[in-house]
């Protein structure tokens, strides 16, 4: 059974704190993604990674950074958390383009982050 896990389901942090959100996949996928989901805005891509130590900006990278030191792990970092980063954060992974004929992304359960 394929699995994407996220380190926390719920997280409460204070403004200005450094926050780490961890994502691990066990499917040997090359691609990994971080999204945030807000009411009325759908899922928006923050960063993605095609391979270890590689990263690409998504649509809303400001205020975030990422780290991918190992293939199975992709971390999202909020350098100095702000209240407007209160959101649901979703991690996903997918296989290399076309290798298995599908671009399906597998999602984790999400982390609901509240910044006070």
């Amino acid at each position: 059974d394929v699995k994407v896990t996220q380190s926390s389901r719920y997280l409460v942090k204070r403004t200005g704190e450094k926050v780490f959100l961890e994502c691990v996949q066990d499917m040997d996928h090359e691609n990994m993604f971080w999204y945030r989901q807000d009411p009325g805005l759908g899922l928006r891509l923050i960063y993605f990674s095609y391979d270890v130590k590689m990263k690409e900006k998504g649509d809303i990278p400001e205020g975030y950074s990422v780290s991918r030191e190992k293939k199975e792990r992709f971390s999202l970092i909020l350098e100095s958390a702000s209240t407007n980063q209160t959101s649901m954060y979703l991690c996903a992974s997918s296989s290399i383009l076309g290798r298995v004929g599908s671009y399906e992304q597998y999602f984790g359960p999400g982390t609901r982050l509240t910044v006070t």
């Binding site: 691609n31 759908g42 899922l43 928006r44 690409e56 979703l90 671009y103 399906e104 999602f107």
Partner: protein, 112 residues
Amino acid sequence: GESVGLHLPTLSVQEGDNSIINCAYSNSASDYFIWYKQESGKGPQFIIDIRSNMDKRQGQRVTVLLNKTVKHLSLQIAATQPGDSAVYFCPPCSSNTGKLIFGQGTTLQVKP
């Protein structure tokens, strides 16, 4: 750039009826589409996909129709059940990057 829109933010159907969720996209170069279902408190889950060289694909109780001429696709759910209540997304996929472009989704409410 690419955009995707779902026709209705909310769709309410009676249990046992068939549901049709519609989706439009803007980029004619999109060559792959996936329907996702997101239940409350969970991440999106794959339902069915379709490539641009097809106009119809069927799964278990679901059928996806693709009309490339008008850049429209639909998800039909037969005999809708309470467990089908969720938000549905139809992100087209960029074949160059594998990125999915999500819209806001359609919330399907199933009335008992």
